[in-house]
């Protein structure tokens, strides 16, 4: 009996000790970690927009975050958007049913930093949606404007890869031509599927037009040497632009030994862009009809 008590006490003490060490460490590092994640995200965003390696970002460039929520309750399901009115001016909440008809629109007083924090944002959406409805965060899109004119959309998305989910960020221009693809997170096999992060694969998506993307296919063939050099960035910007133009309607060349991963990425990108194009049309129509003064 005495033995059991000493064991229990010692184990409890060591657990408490370990927990307090980990807790303290977490408290000291959490701010720095959040900051790093934010910096990383910003870097990916500007990389996709073509401002690589600390190139100067013009002041006229502005990012506007649009959050999409799935709102369900009672017998209906709808999509709620949180659209910014401009920096520090609060947001509009636009509730759209599945057929594209407007259910409700109202202003939401929410600070910019409050909107970044998922907890306060979810709460504000819950209030705006009204009682009896549950809200679920779906995704966020960033609208990029230059001098008030839309120049690009940044789309986040997740899809099934060969093993687990692949988390990507896409940049598309207002005609939905792909500007760039960044793989944020994946667990594909090293040396095979993990090659999706390599320039020679992901840069193939760059410049693919929306019409071509709708029917995009993956072919099992070696990449032509000339094109490969351009994808790896070993030729001048002018020459690679020419090649991109030449290949913009062509299929994606699969990775050696990782056809499934390649297909998954191509299908995933296609899905993200086509769904977004449809949703944006619906949202834009509603915004125009209701004369809502959004920031983009």
């Amino acid at each position: 009996m005495k033995n059991i008590i000493t064991i229990v006490i010692r184990l409890t003490v060591s657990c408490l000790l370990a927990a307090s060490i980990m807790g303290l460490c977490f408290i000291f590092t959490s701010n720095a970690k959040k900051h790093n994640e934010h910096v990383q995200e910003q870097r990916v965003i500007y990389d996709l927009l073509g401002y690589k390696n600390g190139a100067k970002i013009p002041d006229s460039l502005a990012l506007h975050e649009v959050y999409r929520y799935v709102i369900s309750g009672g017998d209906r399901q709808s999509i709620g958007y949180l659209v910014p009115q401009g920096h520090g001016k609060g947001f509009f909440f636009v509730n759209i049913d599945l057929n594209g008809g407007l259910l409700a629109s109202k202003t939401v007083a929410l600070g910019d930093t409050e909107a970044l924090d998922p907890k306060t944002r979810d709460k504000a959406i819950e209030q705006a949606a009204g009682p009896g409805y549950t809200v679920k965060f779906a995704d966020q899109t960033i609208v990029v404007t230059n001098n008030g004119k839309r120049i690009a959309y940044l789309l986040g998305g997740k899809f099934q890869g060969f093993k687990t989910f692949v988390n990507v960020m896409l940049a598309v221009d207002p005609e939905f031509t792909i500007l760039g693809l960044a793989v944020l997170e994946h667990e594909e096999d090293p040396g095979l599927g993990a090659e999706i992060v390599q320039d020679y694969f992901k840069n193939q998506f760059k410049g693919k037009a929306f019409e071509a993307l709708k029917t995009i296919e993956v072919v099992k063939a070696p990449i032509p040497t000339e094109y490969l050099e351009a994808l790896n960035g070993r030729v001048s910007e002018e020459a690679s632009g020419k090649l991109r133009e030449q290949y913009k309607d062509k299929a994606i060349y699969a990775l050696t030994g990782a056809t499934i991963s390649s297909k998954a990425v191509a299908e995933g990108v296609k899905g993200i862009v086509t769904k977004f194009a449809y949703r944006l049309n619906v949202l834009d129509k509603i915004l125009q009809e209701q004369q809502l003064a959004v920031s983009f």
Partner: protein, 205 residues
């Protein structure tokens, strides 16, 4: 228990005569799964080195207050604490390194080699010796992983440290996990052969 080995001997023992991968055959799962490139092996090796040294020192310091009946849970707890601390600190202050090492650091909690060194060495020996033993074992693991990674990267993707040296990919098979077993097995045989040969040439038994 007194230990008659010097710090240098403790380190070389971890690297050569008791190499965790080739001699003790411990932690084979990461050795097979992750050692696809030299860089991967190096990253995991560094992470294991830190956790091994910190855990060995901690257990050695507290060896007199650890109840023998609950020593294994205590080891696991110690390792988990250090892994968490290293993970958090890396993520906060070295984001570049963390982006590459992050996935490896979290794996270390379940490594047999660390628990085994705590059980065999750190819980009996003084703090100083435990530190050197941990360092030796960590280095031995790191070198082992890098050697395997070297072979697999060269044969599998025709590159070393990510630089294309061959210009083509000789055998894609070497990238796959199953090839890890072949490489580890063949290298084990190779090192044993060297040892036998060396002992014979010296006239030892």
């Amino acid at each position: 228990m007194a230990n008659d080995k010097s710090s240098m001997q403790l380190i070389t023992r971890g690297i050569l005569s008791e190499n965790p991968i080739f001699k003790l055959a411990l932690s084979m799962c990461p050795a097979v799964g992750i050692s696809t490139t030299v860089m991967n092996g190096f990253m995991l090796g560094i992470a294991v080195l830190f956790v091994q040294v910190f855990s060995s020192v901690t257990i050695s310091t507290f060896k007199n207050v650890i109840h023998p009946r609950i020593r294994i849970p205590t080891y696991t707890l110690t390792i988990a604490t250090w892994v968490t601390v290293i993970d958090l600190v890396l993520a906060a202050y070295l984001p570049e390194a963390y982006a590459k090492m992050g996935i490896f650091v979290k794996l270390i909690v379940a490594f047999a080699i660390i628990t085994m060194r705590l059980e065999m060495f750190a819980c009996k020996e003084p703090v100083k010796d435990s530190f050197w033993d941990g360092l030796g074992m960590g280095l031995g693991f790191m070198i082992g992983m890098m050697v395997i990674g070297f072979v697999r990267e060269l044969l599998g993707s025709g590159a070393i440290f990510g630089f294309d040296v061959l210009g083509f990919k000789p055998l894609l098979f070497f990238i796959l996990p199953s090839a890890g077993f072949f490489v580890v097995g063949l290298m084990m045989a190779f090192f044993n052969w060297i040892e036998v040969y060396y002992k014979r040439s010296k006239g030892l038994k």
